[in-house]
Every structure is written in C-alpha cells, then in structure tokens.
C-alpha cells in the first residue's frame, strides 16, 4: 500500500490544476493522479506540414477517433452531439480554442428570473474574486468595458481584429448589434513565462508556441514548485469507502498497468462532466449500490453540452483564413432572455477567422462547392480564404433524461466500464437554434456573403460537459453542497463542470476554474471542521 496523502486530486485539467495550486499553500501532502502524460510542444501539430491532417488522427477532438493510450472510449451513439475532450496533463485545456468568457450574473439565477431549472447556490458576486485570480493565473487577453458584462479588468490586451474582425465588426455595426473582442487565454504579450501569440492559426489542437494557456504550462509549474506531486499515466478505477462511509482512497492502474491502492484523507474529483459520473458509478459497493455519492439518484443526470451551430459563407474580400487564431470577436446581443423570441435564456455568437487551406478544401468538397474534376481549381481558389463564419453557442437547460451511465459492454484498455451518453436537444434549445441561425444568416447577408451553409448541430461539438453531479443545498436534488462537498461522503469533493446547476450560454472553462478556486478556498477556510 502506498503512503497516505492528505489530499488526492483525480485529474490534472482545468479544475484539478487550479484546486491543486490553491491548496498547495496549506502545506498538506497533495497528490494528483492523471491518466495521461505530459505533452511536448515540439510534438504539437503546427510543427509539421501535416498539421491539418492530424486533426483526423492523433489530435482528433473525439477520443473515439484519437484513440491514444490515455483516452477511454465513450459510447455516444445515442446522442446527436459527440463528446470531445483531451486526456493529458492539462486535460482539455491542451485541446481547446481558448475562448474564455465568464458566466453572467443572470446565469446563476435562472429559476428566479425565468422560472426554469434551478438557481445556483452561489452567485456571480461570490465567484468574482476567483474569476479575477484565475484570469491572472491563466493569463487572459481581452478588453475591459464590455457593456454586456459587469466590469472586469484583463491582464493582456485583446487579439488583433485583422481582416476578418474588421469585416465582421463593420457588419455588426451596420446591424446595430453588439460585438466585442473575445476574452481568450491566448497570450498577446509575454506572460508568466509564456511567449506571445504569433498567429499559428491552428489553436485548438494544442499551441506549439505556448501562447495558449493550458494548465500544464500555467497552474502546474507553480503547483509543483509549491510541493504538489503529479503522478502521470495513472488511471483511477474506483474510489473506495470505509465502514463510516468516508472515502478512504482510490484504486488505480499505474503506468505499468499494475493495480495500486492510494489512501487519502480527502479525495477531490476533477475528471469533467463525463469522467466524474463514470467514476462515481464505477465506485458502487454494497454500501453504495447505485454508485458513490448518489443517494439523490442524480449522478450522471442533467448532462448539458451547449448545442452548437455554425453558419458560414464566403465574402468577396479576403479574410484572415489560417493566418490568425480562430478566435476573433463575439456578440452577446441575444444572450439574455427575451420572451418575444419564443424561448428562454440565450446564446452568443462567436466569429471565427477561417480555416487552413486543406481543411477548407475538405469542407468545400463535402458540400459540393469544390467539385471533382477540372472545375475544382477555379471553384476552390474563388472561395478559399474568403470564409466568414458565425458560431452559435446555446444555453442548454438541465433535463434528467440527458445522462451519463455505464455502458454494459464497452470498456477501456484497463477493463473499466466506459461511459454511455443518452442525449437529445430540447425544444427550448431547438427554438433558440432556429432564432440564432436566422440571425446568423442576417449577419452573413449584411456582409454580402454567398454560398451560405448551416451545420446544426455541430456533431463533434460536445466540448462542454456539465451538470452531471450538480450543486445544491438540498441533498435530495443535488450531489454536492454549495461548496463542492458531496452530501453523502463528507471527505469527497467535486470541482469540475459536473457541478454546474445550469450551463449558461458561454464556454465554461473560466467558470469551472473559478468554482474550483472557490471550493479550494472554502476547504481552506474550514480545515478544522471540514467533515462536520
């Protein structure tokens, strides 16, 4: 048996890294188990000429396509939206586009404001100092003064507008609709050892420049220097409990595949909205026949994704294409509820600069705009580099039938049952998509775009894995309390996106990390009475 640690964190991604760093000042013995390994920037796709092709192999966004040793399979056949993630030190912050908005104040009060779902047991004001601390640690670029948000300062200036941003901004001004430079974790200046963005243009599958904040290069170096141990290639199979119902540690497979028991005083789960319910459900025992921390029956339920649509077309002017980060500017014109639209809650628009020539060729061929044969060249050259793209991120409300369970057949390479996803897009979200797609077409029409095409939903768009172990003060209607402690197991905490009560309508990483820092702070404030 391994030596007992004070705090065991499962997962080294967005939330695991943040909670590890924050707790390090306590001088407790802290260990993080990560199923993947350290990544090397010299291996990242943009080092090579095949960088676009690697999106379909070892840097595919879906673990079912990527199939790295660190990945586990996910049965998402019964979902129009497929789970995408990354498993390594840094988790999915290695492979994300780095859009970094915060949830809005209204997002924490949807029951009060709109009569749907539930209010959160925390609010924006409570999280505000943790948002700020996290912005400083991750290094956020953007511009203060957005009228769509409470005021907040940002450590670095925004990304350039470029050709694409200028064209889109002119169009949005013509329509009188809100736009603003996106908050991103792409460094626009040197920042905490990171080099500034040099416009590699291919941000999502890891940044060879190191300009994109992933927790392997932000939180982890600080946490490790402060004494946290990070043990890689270790896949946790189950959380164990004692006769008193408290967690005693975890059983995991080490880098050699050997089974290990790691005892711990406190266990913190940071495995994302699919990995966390999977592990809780795999931790069932005679005392917990429905899975650990599941007396409410809500573990795995209320899965939320942010159904995504993309509407794009081609304008006469050259756009940035692959010559800059996909992130550019965004709009929150339709973010807050307006009953006249026929749905509650809202969505944002995210405008992307363009894509690489190879990826553009694949996209144009697929929709018949770059035909096979002698007409291919003229058709492709007329459109490549002229793409104007409007992405739409919709708020997804919790519904219990959208869920993560254990697949009865599928297992990972260690024989651990894999997750199964059952998910449908709600009527409210479908109405929101109808409205937003129509407005996106208005934008493209105002820009003079031709060959407008809609993708609804974006199938491989399940980045945001939320809601499957929700927060709340009522143990019958939630899995963790208002500071992340499981109602059923008083030394078990969850800090990832599972604990979201509702999804908001923005990319969640900033809020996930702010919550993790808030929970870490709550733990530090309560050390003497943590298990009461």
């Amino acid at each position: 048996m391994l030596e007992k640690v004070d705090v065991l964190i499962i997962g080294s991604g967005a939330s695991g890294a943040a909670v590890a760093w924050s707790l390090a000042e306590t001088k407790m013995r802290i260990l993080c188990l990560e199923q993947g390994d350290w990544m090397k920037q010299s291996d990242y796709p943009t080092n090579g000429r095949d960088y676009e092709a690697r999106l379909y192999s070892d840097y595919a966004t879906s673990p079912n396509i990527r199939r790295r040793d660190s990945d586990y399979p996910i049965n998402d056949d019964n979902s129009p939206i497929k789970v995408v993630n990354f498993n390594a030190v840094g988790g999915s912050t290695v492979m994300y586009t780095a859009h970094y908005p915060r949830l809005h104040p209204s997002d924490f009060r949807v029951k009060t404001l709109d009569g749907v779902a539930d209010d959160w047991p925390v609010d924006y004001a409570t999280l505000e100092p943790f948002f700020a601390e996290n912005d400083r640690m991750m290094g956020v670029s953007g511009l203060a003064g957005d009228p769509a948000y409470p005021s907040h300062a940002l450590p670095m200036p925004p990304l350039p507008l470029g050709k694409s941003g200028t064209k889109i901004a002119e169009t949005m001004n013509k329509l009188g609709w809100h736009w603003w430079p996106s908050d991103t974790t792409l460094a626009t200046t040197e920042y905490d050892g990171r080099a500034p963005c040099i416009n590699l243009g291919h941000c999502t599958p890891a940044c060879a420049q190191g300009a994109k904040a992933s927790t392997d290069i932000t939180y982890w170096p600080h946490a490790i220097r402060a004494g946290v141990e990070l043990r890689t290639n270790c896949r946790v199979r189950e959380i164990t409990t004692g006769p008193d119902g408290m967690a005693t540690g975890v059983i995991y497979y080490d880098k050699d595949g050997a089974e290990q028991f790691q005892p711990a005083e406190v266990v913190i789960m940071a495995c994302n909205g699919v990995g966390t319910p999977r592990l809780l459900l795999n931790s069932k025992s005679a005392a917990h026949p429905d899975g650990l921390a599941n007396s409410s029956g809500l573990v795995g339920k209320n899965l939320m994704f942010h159904p995504w649509a993309t509407v794009y077309g081609y304008v006469d002017e050259p756009m940035d294409g692959h010559r800059g980060p996909p992130l550019c500017i965004w709009s929150q014109e339709f973010y807050e509820t307006d009953p006249a639209r026929g749905y509650v809650r809202g969505h944002n628009f995210q405008f992307n600069r363009g894509i690489g020539v190879g990826t553009e060729a694949v996209a144009l061929e697929a929709i018949g705009l770059a035909p096979w044969g002698r007409d291919h060249h003229d058709a492709f050259r007329a459109l490549s580099g002229h793409r104007m793209s409007v992405g739409m991120c919709t708020e997804d409300l919790p519904e219990e039938h959208n869920r993560v369970t254990l697949d009865p057949v599928l297992k990972d390479r260690h024989g651990i049952p894999a997750p199964r996803i059952d998910y449908t897009i709600s009527d409210n979200t479908n109405r929101m998509l109808d409205f937003g797609i129509a407005r996106a077409k208005d934008i493209l029409a105002a820009a003079g775009a031709r060959h407008v095409h809609t993708i609804r939903p974006v199938a491989y768009g399940g980045w945001h894995l939320l809601g499957t172990a929700r927060m709340g003060t009522d143990p019958t209607r939630s899995v963790v309390n208002e500071w992340g402690r499981c109602h059923d197991v008083k030394n078990l905490f969850i800090v990832d996106g599972s604990i979201f009560v509702t999804s908001g309508g923005v990319n969640p990483t900033s809020t996930i990390q702010a919550l993790a820092l808030y929970i870490a702070d709550s733990i530090k404030q309560r050390l003497a009475t943590l298990f009461d």
Partner: protein, 145 residues
C-alpha cells in the same frame, strides 16, 4: 494490411479525377508522383475505409478505373460520391489534405510552403474605432435581484 497493386492504381486514378493537373495554374494533379506518394503514406488508420471505398469504385467501374474512357470515369465518380458514404469521404479527405500541402500547390496559392510554427503569421490590428458605437451603449447585462 496495405493496398494491393490494383487498389493503388485505382486510388491514383481517383486522385487524378478529384484534382487533375491544371495548366492554367501550373499545378500538378493529385495523381502526381510526389503527391500520390504522400497520399499512400498518409492512409494510416484509415486504411479499412479506403479499401472499402476502392472496392466500391471497382464495383461501379466493373473493373480497373484506368480501363475506362473519360466519360465513363466521370459517371463512376458521380456515383461514387453519391453512393460511397463515409469511406469515400475519408478517401477524398486524404487526397485533399495531401494535395493542399504540396510545395508547388502552396506556392501557386500564394502561400509559403512551411508549417505554421515557428514563423507564424502577421495579423494586422485593424480599425479599433469600429468599437466606438458599442462602447457608447449602456450596460445591458441583466441585473439580478
């Protein structure tokens, strides 16, 4: 598992059907020696789908594609795209991604034949005065009681 000689010949024929050489742009077709070698090298984990697509092509052609005249090939190409499903999409994607990273093709498109890192690209700031009307708006985020 690797492609047979017949499969390789058919794939090369299809590559040339997808993107033929162009005198106008002075670029080779995707059946060019260098580009097709890259295509073959890049099949990797997609080999089963590529083989499925090639079997479909041969079935539609009733034999080697190279034995068909141009009109018959075009007819096969149309049916292959319409009926071939995901395997044909994958076969096509490999051709396109390899073609659009060939030095000659990139130069013809006005692009530098290099990976993005470490040189990167230049992105102009743009006209930030465009933001003035948005800055002038009153805060419109929803107040919470």
């Amino acid at each position: 598992m690797t492609l047979t000689a017949d499969e390789t010949a058919d794939y090369r024929c299809i590559a040339g059907m997808i993107i033929p050489a162009s005198e106008k742009y002075a670029v080779p077709g995707a059946d060019d020696d260098l580009i097709f070698a890259d295509i073959i090298k890049s099949i990797g984990r997609d080999e089963a789908d590529v083989k499925t697509a090639l079997a479909k092509a041969r079935s539609l052609a009733g034999g080697p594609l190279s034995a068909l005249d141009a009109a018959s090939r075009d007819s096969v190409a149309d049916r292959l795209r319409a009926e071939g499903g995901n395997p044909v999409a994958i076969l096509t994607r490999i051709v396109l991604l390899c073609y659009y990273r060939d030095d000659r093709v990139m130069i013809s498109l006005g692009l530098e034949p290099r990976p993005p890192f470490p040189k990167g690209h230049v992105l102009e700031q743009g006209d930030w005065s465009l933001l003035d009307p948005v800055k002038a708006r009153k805060p419109f985020w929803r107040q919470v009681p």
